[in-house]
Point group: none
Chain length 357, copies 2
């Protein structure tokens, strides 16, 4: 099978989050065909490692789940494969499986991590499950997370802050609204303010991070003839690696300014920290050089932040256009797969011996 | 029991719209204690009538439902009763029940109407249910609708237009919102526009009507990391008696202007027409005289419009401050109940013989 066909085989297995048993089984059995690998199955996660030969350990990780959708529509047409998960991230997984199961001469040990439940709440992540049950399996000197990056190194990742807002008002009859205060009209001012947000861009280690602020849900209303006394809203703020939880929240509170009053509530609903770009790491700089293109910052949150918390410098690098992720017309091309395989193969072959930096 | 206690008894019965069976049962059994009344139960509506003595028929009507809320908080403190529905309109109902069940010498027949589901969509109104199933029960020469008016005649009523809005956007990842369009941010502009509305006032038959525009519900949101592609909103426009359905809708569409685009939807969800003031009616002028205060226009929609459609000149006149309606601290006072009882009693006693106008 060529790489498009190998990817198609993975795409046609429905592996929406929490339903990864079948694909994990296929990955496990495929990895077990290589006697040089120690293969461990932990829940629906599979970790395969070479051991005992080298002092340095490289880690390559990818998630095996997808967002919901119909996988039966997938097909190869010419040099393209269209189908749910083609880009995020079964193209990269196919290349990882190919490299893990073929003989290769390397200067480092390699750990291959295939994990479940990345596309849903971080608390359910299969990578966290492995980190809790077998943290030894995630030890490495450096890691690549093979999320789609268009074949470019996307360094670090931005944090993501979810904030819930409750705006207070005062009920009244809608024929006499001057006797009350409409919380939805106050919400209008808040949304107007959020829509006026101008992204802040920060440059760290030579790559740019552009923050974002979006309203992701609203609600409110009592009855058709009642001025509502409560409006709620959830905001999602993408936070560059130079700011932590409290700093980001304080900035947001300041930005919303007079839209938030004493009787209102503004609370952190969820926070996932950013990861710094780690481009001072010699092996990640080598990866950037192999791609032939400058690194850029990762705008979304990814598990490079999880590796950072585990003390493993990591970066995003994978096959496929990140703008295609989660779209019904998601696609991957033969060239994207081949280029990813070339860079990954050369990096795995050339990286070795403890780094000096 | 005094009138505050009689009102409290009704207030403590939870009778949110569509849940009027218990209070209708109490009203029915109370009315049946007066052998002079023909009592009819139609669904959760109760109609009681004297018959056979006089040529003229007066009708007094009130709704038995309330907006949602906690009725267990109701209490009497000194000369006040605070509690959901105290003012809208269980104070008036208590006086109606008192007058319907006590012996009285009158020159007219009297019809007492207690009806369900006034506080929700007009299509569900219990008064329409009676009008459809037993229109004969609503025949009268003149009607008082005992909605709270502060003891003043509130003539006619404004129409009420409910419009549902759906604003379109385009989904994207919240880390790359520039690839989509946030429908909630568009909603912000719409709500901002609605909040900027300046009321129009019209004078008819010497009374003023002031229109209003309020957002009454909003919703929208896909997931915590997705730029939403749809936002919805419901607007409530109160319309003076000089405008009909299409005129009011056209005005609203024009007012919203560029907030509504081609891919959006703007639809009439509900319309209840206005009623003209009917102050040319002799018996309604007599009622105004008994109150000792000039009439004013009714800003909210009421079932005087339903009576107008049935050919019965009607007006709003009831106990309690209309500005308190639908508020969590709704209240009625002993003086308000006593004054309503005085005027209603005198009007029922003095009105009689066919009017000449």
């Amino acid at each position: 099978m060529n790489r498009l066909e190998q990817t198609l085989e993975l795409v046609t297995i429905d592996s929406v989050s929490r339903n990864e048993a079948v694909i994990a089984g296929l990955v496990e059995s495929r990895l077990r065909t290589n006697p040089a690998l120690d293969v461990e199955r932990i829940g629906d996660n599979v970790v395969a490692r070479t051991t005992g030969l080298h002092a340095t350990r490289l880690l390559v990780a990818g998630h095996i789940d997808t967002v919901p959708g119909d996988v039966t529509l997938a097909e190869i047409a010419g040099d393209e494969l269209r189908g749910l998960g083609a880009c995020d991230m079964k193209g990269s997984l196919a290349v990882m499986l190919e490299m893990a199961t073929q003989p290769a001469v390397r200067k480092s040990e390699v750990t291959w991590v295939f994990y479940a439940r990345e596309e849903i709440s971080h608390a359910e992540s299969g990578l966290l499950e492995v980190a809790q049950l077998r943290p030894d399996l995630l030890e490495a000197d450096v890691a690549i997370l093979a999320e789609p990056t268009g074949g470019v190194v996307e360094a670090g990742c931005q944090g993501t802050l979810r904030v819930s807002v409750e705006l207070a008002g005062k009920r009244a009859h809608t024929a006499r609204p001057f006797a009350g205060r409409n919380a939805l009209h106050r919400l209008g001012s808040l949304l107007h303010r959020v829509a006026s947000y101008e992204p802040r861009t920060v440059t760290i280690d030579g790559v740019d991070y552009t923050e974002q602020l979006q309203a992701v849900s609203v609600g409110g209303g009592v009855a058709a003839n009642v001025v509502p006394d409560l409006a709620n809203c959830t905001l999602n703020h993408r936070v560059a690696p130079d700011r932590g939880r409290e700093e980001a929240f304080a900035w947001l509170r300041g930005f919303l300014g007079e839209c938030i009053e004493d009787d209102d509530e503004l609370e952190i609903a969820d926070w996932s920290p950013a990861a710094a770009p780690s481009l001072s790491n010699e092996r990640l700089r080598a990866l950037v050089a192999l791609t032939g293109q400058p690194a850029r910052g990762k705008m979304g949150w990814t598990d490079v932040a999880t590796f950072a918390e585990l003390g493993v410098p990591a970066t995003n690098f994978g096959a496929g256009d990140p703008l295609m992720a989660h779209r019904s017309d998601e696609l991957i091309t033969r060239d994207q797969l081949d280029e990813f395989a070339r860079v990954l193969g050369e990096w795995l072959a050339s990286s070795g011996e403890p780094a000096t930096n």
